[in-house]
Amino acid sequence: MITRKVTRKWEKLPGKNTFCCDGRVMMGRQKGVFYLTLFLIVGTCSLFFAFECPYLAVHLSPAIPVFAVLLFVFVMAMLLRTSFSDPGVLPRALPEEANFIEMEIEAANGNVMAGQRPPPRIKNVQINNQIVKLKYCYTCKIFRPPRASHCSICDNCVDRFDHHCPWVGNCVGKRNYRYFYLFTLSLSLLTIYIFAFNIVHVVLREYRNIFEHVVSLTPHCTVLEVLVCFFTLWSVVGLTGFHTYLISLNQTTNEDIKGSWSGKNRVQNPYSHKSIIKNCCEVLCSPTYPSVLDRRGVMLEDLSSPTPSDASAASTHQSSNPVSQTTKSSAPLIPNEHTPDEAKPGIGSGTQKSTSSPKEEKPPSPTSPNAVAPAVIKESSH
């Protein structure tokens, strides 16, 4: 019997994410700025604990460093939770689902004359008595759910997409938005705390020195910390304020930037409960959503699997190249319009229908052309 390392699903996931710890950790592609964030927070706090805290603990109160430690631990936990968790990535459509949607679209569009660009793929749905347009994602081959958006850096559709934060090294979406908010909030508090006690420290030292006629140079560390905190303060506190505003209106950064719900003739935000408290509760106190990616699931290799949808798949070709688990980069091939069907890797449960009909019509351009009036698939609501 050949002993083979188990292939886990994260190794075959499309998209440009980085995975660590055998799929337990999921991050975006570019991590440089994240390391800078870590360095700034840990560095500044280390200086604070090393140089300020002994003095303040003795001359003011030992509770000061204790509270600083608690705050620091909270900030780091929120940062790591935001950075390492799945933001709410929507898995790409498997071939059958993609075909089904294509057939639906073709049926709605009717016959497109040769040479004419096909109409843009939009679905209208009614949410809380407002019409919302759902766009088709050509990369993921799905109609994006409301509030979802495709992140070009991570090459994934993310549910309730807020933004891609380089400081955190990950997208901010439905699953990690509250951790991101708590991170910015607690970091604001930590920055204000360190800044304030640096000032207190300087004042106390100079005050004592005046009485004792001793000339002392304020330690360089204090100056450094004050500088870092000063610049951090403006940006982080501002960001926290901005996100508090968004939460109270139940909007995402993405919607705010695009102006989805502002302007006279536009739709009002259908997701808002018209009450600040209810909006805050929904965003911050809603249940923890599960990840639908199943990163650590084992790739199915035989027919006797319990999953019904894999019945007809002989996915032996899935296990032909076990990716080394020390590989930090994501799954190799990202299917796009130009990838032939056979070459596309299995997504999720690794179903590859061997008799799938590659009848997908690839649209020439994903942008919505103005020449043809958009054919809209109207969804009747129930």
Partner: protein, 157 residues
Amino acid sequence: MATEFHNLQELRHSASLANKVFIQRDYTDGTVCKFQTKFPSELDSRIERTLFEDTVKMLNNYYAEAEKIGGQSYIEGCLACLTVYLVFLCIETRYDKVLKKISRYIQEQNEKVYAPRGLLITDPIERGMRVIEISVYEDRGSSGSSSGSSTTSSSGR
């Protein structure tokens, strides 16, 4: 019960996949997880409309229960925040518990209702909670002792 379970196994080995039907999400109430109860025409000859609608409505109820924002979700959220989310190493979130219930329910529905009719439901979580995938099987033409479940709709309950 044993006969139906036997049918589920036989389904995979003796029947071939003919078609897949996808039940889409219903977004009229917002972004909560809810599926359309509209009966797809491809299943017209395979299963009774009421059985199908009951299954989808039950699933919708489960998802609504999982996503309910109320007392329990507040307590869970506050406790998690205070323990810096380490509490989830010990206890399961409410959503995960309901997902397990859903998975058991789908398994039971497959065994009792859908497999005898040559259909199989895939748990929506395996499709990113986007669709309910229903696989339609046709008998391979073997007239043996295998279930022949795909062609009979009268043997259903």
